[in-house]
Symmetry: C2
Subunit: 219 residues, 2 copies
């Protein structure tokens, strides 16, 4: 199994958490998103993912033995959950799964894609926005997303986002909190979220997956 | 069953397609995203969805009889697929499901959230960008996403996005094509995508779900 990712990419971070959570060993192949205009845009990497985004997971399908090249972090994690169902991240109950996926998508669809590297590059590049506007942009979308997330957690949270089991919602939350802290966003208005994050940050799988613990950290 | 949506919202459009595809009857409750500063921001609607986004589906869970309030279009559709498994939109095979979800997320995570109404409002509002820059923004992200999608389809497509069965990938593609056409984006560079779209546009469920066929069309 080989994961192509970047230490600071939220989507790579999600898959690292899921793999560590399930105790699956893998080789990590760094794709530097900034060097040489972005290694994810190389012809070699584009063959693995025509969207030119990380991560990509190469894996031998445990059922057929076929070599698979998978993209999109949430699709990868749902696949891992189906093939390695121990320590499920998406619960089997359709109702609980809907809550979990809603929280996951709040982070992975309604926050991360708007505030990720390529969008920020467009803002400061094509639109020539100063750093101040870039930071206001990040802060605006984080605030929108975390406010909604906090309101949802007040109904769903136990020790973690949904009850007392780690789920895909937790896997998607932690990378966005890492980003928010990186940009010095004040999280004190989200007490339920902070309490969940504190519990998650103690878990070995979440520690192993942290950006600073990757071989390409600070590269 | 009650769907709170807006005729032109891509995420509402996806759920309308899924409901029609599965032959499920529902009441449609329009939430106007522009009138009065956006009805989705009202206190009443925020109780249904603290993210202040459409759609919301209210449904009586067929297993427990419990009244559920569900948000996030993809979470809703996965729930419908689990509870009403006829005419599945996410195939049971983990490998095929991964392909389907990857294509779905290409549209629903990596395109739609970057080019939706609230982001465009931020560009022309807070960032005071002229209409010309707004259109360039839309065109840029549509081009990025459709180019990757076309490359994927060359490996996965049959009559539809993945083989000859309608899937969640098709459900997520059609609303983004509707938007692209609305902004006069040239689609001739995506022949595989266009061929799939042509086949999908003939299906009664996709016709019933079209924005112009909703009670709030042009409101």
């Amino acid at each position: 199994m080989k994961l192509h990712g970047y230490w600071r990419s939220s989507a790579s971070y999600r898959v690292r958490i899921a793999l560590a959570w399930k105790g699956l060993d893998y080789e990590y192949s760094p794709v530097h998103l900034l060097k040489a205009g972005g290694e994810q845009k190389s012809a070699e990497y584009s063959r693995l993912n025509p969207a030119k985004l990380v991560p990509t997971l190469e894996i031998k399908d445990p059922n057929s033995g076929e070599h698979l090249v998978l993209n999109q972090s949430l699709a990868i994690i749902e696949y891992l959950d189906a093939c390695f169902p121990e320590k499920r991240l998406v619960p089997e109950s359709p109702v609980v799964a809907a809550l979990v996926r809603t929280l996951a998508l709040d982070m992975a669809a309604d926050l991360q894609p708007i505030a990720n590297l390529r969008v920020l590059q467009y803002l400061t590049g094509q639109l020539q926005q100063p750093d101040e506007q870039k930071l206001a942009w990040i802060s605006h979308w984080v605030t929108q997303a975390f406010s909604a997330f906090e309101a949802r957690l007040q109904k769903t949270a136990g020790k973690y986002c949904v009850g007392d089991n780690v789920t895909l919602a937790d896997v998607c939350l932690i990378p966005q909190v890492y980003n928010a802290k990186r940009f010095n966003i004040d999280l004190s208005g989200y007490p339920c979220l902070c309490s969940v994050v504190e519990a998650l940050e103690e878990l070995p799988a979440f520690i192993a997956a942290r950006p600073e613990n990757q071989i390409d950290a600070n590269s």
